[in-house]
């Protein structure tokens, strides 16, 4: 009589073919040569401070990610990293991208928000061997409502705006605010008067900026002032414009200034005109205007680039008195060399406050001074911190 097998023995007999099959599979899957080492650690996370639909997959380099040692050119090294993704642990992984050796990061931008994803990094060896890392996940992408990298910037902006509003309030309440004399702005009325005496027009060049540039906004303010004065003095003003939107706004500024001065009939549409949106074609047209009409006074207020010296020298040749102001730092030296008065940097933005002396505008100017004082203190503190090696202070202000 045969002895009956134990349960354990029956289990082993059933498992034996499966184990054999599995071993055979493993053996055939293994390449004949050396095995590439997988990456030791993978993590996946929602990309911070982004609109969403992006997941960052980061990993440590495979130990075989190296240049082959000398004398061992056949050593197996990393050829590439394949980034694989699945939507569940039981799903088949699909390749979504790859990275070259030395890279440790991949941004997957082809995901949907609030959907769980799983990632794996497969190292590909120079001998075509493959090695898979552990899975990372589940990870879900989402958009953020606040960029934490800009927190310091936001705080500074709110402080600055708050200071400006406080100073505007104080100015309206009657507090005296001192502004140092700015020669270029003091000379505006004198320059307009000169044009009237000579019976020649005034040329106002609002620069090559768009209507969204701050320098162009400052140009509108100055243009309004100049147009008002020229209307009072019955002198013509010519405003060649580079940008059509600037032209439409400049036309309104000049028209309303003439109306405020009580001379609406003086306005002629051909005095404020569009020229071209090509830099040097615009310069050629303005130069021609200067040579033909010989304006007594030229204003260059706004954004200028390489054409600044060409304009200023031609105006000098035509015998005009010239007042320039731009926020393009590179062009300021050219204006300084060729013009009678130059508004440097933010002096241009101070024009409105300086010319009108209105309390809200003076308050804004003072706010700028406070802001600069704060920056100067921070620079000094930062220099001390950097010298003493206090990284925390410096890193606090670093933007990512």
């Amino acid at each position: 009589m045969a002895r009956s097998d134990s349960r354990h023995e029956r289990r082993v007999r059933r498992a034996y073919p499966a184990a054999l099959t599995l071993t055979a599979c493993l053996l055939t899957a293994l390449p004949a040569g050396a095995l590439i080492a997988p990456v030791p650690h993978v993590e996946a996370y929602d990309r911070p401070n982004d609109p969403g639909e992006t997941i960052v997959v980061a990993w440590e380099l495979s130990p075989d990610d190296r240049t082959p040692p000398p004398g061992d050119a056949d050593a197996v090294t990393v050829l590439s990293y394949r980034v694989l993704r699945a939507e569940s642990p039981t799903d088949t992984l699909t390749e979504v991208g790859s990275a070259l050796p030395g890279k440790t990061l991949y941004r997957d931008s082809e995901v949907r928000d609030n959907v769980a994803y799983y990632y794996q990094i497969q190292t590909v060896g120079t001998d075509s061997s493959l090695a898979s890392s552990a899975w990372a996940g589940p990870v879900r992408s989402s958009g953020q409502w606040f960029d934490t990298n800009k927190a310091v910037l936001l705080a500074f902006m709110l402080l600055f705006c708050g200071a400006v509003l406080v100073l505007i309030h104080q100015a309206r309440a009657g507090r005296e605010l001192f502004i140092r004399p700015i020669p270029g702005l003091s000379a505006v009325d004198e320059a307009i008067g000169r044009a009237t005496e000579m019976g020649r027009p005034i040329l106002f060049v609002p620069g090559l900026g768009t209507s969204g540039d701050v320098a162009t906004l400052a140009a509108y303010t100055m243009l309004g002032r100049v147009a008002h004065r020229t209307a009072e003095y019955q002198t013509g003003v010519r405003v060649p414009c580079y940008d059509p939107m600037v032209m439409t706004i400049a036309q309104d500024v000049v028209k309303s200034s003439y109306l405020d001065a009580g001379y609406p009939d003086m306005y002629r549409e051909e005095d404020v005109f569009f020229v071209t949106q090509d830099q040097f074609s615009y310069v050629a047209a303005v130069n021609g205007l200067m040579i033909r009409e010989r304006p007594a006074t030229n204003f260059y207020i706004g954004k200028f680039y390489a054409e600044s010296l060409i304009l200023a020298e031609t105006g000098n040749f035509a015998g005009s008195i010239q007042i320039a102001g731009t926020d393009e730092i590179v062009q300021i030296p050219f204006f300084v060399a060729a013009c009678d008065y130059t508004l440097i940097g933010e002096e241009l933005y101070a024009a409105s406050a300086y010319l009108s002396r209105e309390p809200p505008l003076l308050g804004t100017l003072k706010g700028q001074d406070w802001g600069k004082a704060a920056v100067m203190i921070l620079i000094i503190l930062g220099t001390v911190a950097a010298t003493l090696g206090w990284r925390g202070f410096i890193d606090f202000f670093a933007t990512q």
Binding site: V214, T221, P244, K372
Partner: protein, 214 residues
């Protein structure tokens, strides 16, 4: 209402765009891109206005035979000519690109080259040692101009005076550019940044609205 409505639109749009910079969410980015698309559309209509005004102005000049009217003919020919040529394709060898390389290219390069002449006359006239600051300016200009060309390095290379190492003009020029020049520029940038923010704040809050004076 004619004054209030534009100011209200300026306020809402200005505050939104100021805060949008800090909000990376997709909906915020989408609204920003929509506004930029609108900006393009408005800009195109503004170009049409500008071109219409330009054509009208020069046609009037031609019709009334005012002084220099032939130049108005040249302008209108160039304007419409390039548009028409563009319909024949824009690859290399096309009439549009040929006109670009034979007309626009040399003219623009010539205009830029005029700077060399103008800087000579500006330097002759303006770089005078009238004051201490003007003297420092002209000395810096001379050192940088010579330090940036091979001739300067031949005339004044680095040399030793006993145990003292005297830098050459190229090193002095580099120091002038990288230290005092850069320091001054950074300071001006800080002022410009604050001034620009203040100006934008004035416009957004309606304290100053030069573009709404009409």
């Amino acid at each position: 209402m004619k004054r209030e409505l534009p100011r209200m639109i300026t306020l809402v749009t200005g505050v939104f765009l100021a805060l949008q910079y800090y909000v990376p969410h997709r909906s915020s980015a989408h609204m920003y891109e929509t506004l930029m698309d609108w900006l393009i559309v408005v800009g195109i209509f503004a170009i049409l206005l500008g071109i219409a005004g330009l054509v009208r102005q020069h046609l009037t000049k031609i019709q009334s035979r005012r002084e220099n009217w032939p130049y108005s003919v040249a302008l209108l020919t160039g304007l419409f000519g390039m548009v028409i040529l563009g319909f024949w394709g824009q690859g290399l060898g096309s009439p549009f690109v040929t006109a670009y390389f034979t007309l626009l290219n040399p003219v623009q390069a010539t205009m830029f080259a005029m700077l060399a002449f103008y800087i000579a006359s500006a330097a002759y006239r303006a770089f005078r040692a009238r004051t201490l600051l003007a003297t420092i300016l002209l000395l810096s200009a001379v050192l940088v101009m010579l330090g940036r060309v091979p001739l300067g390095e031949i005339v004044w290379p680095p040399f030793s005076l006993g145990s003292l190492e005297i830098p050459g003009i190229a090193q002095i020029s580099d120091w002038l550019i990288n230290v005092p020049n850069l320091a001054a520029k950074r300071a001006i940038y800080v002022g410009l940044g604050l001034g620009g923010s203040a100006t934008a704040l004035k416009v957004v809050l309606g304290i100053e609205a030069p573009h709404l004076r009409g």
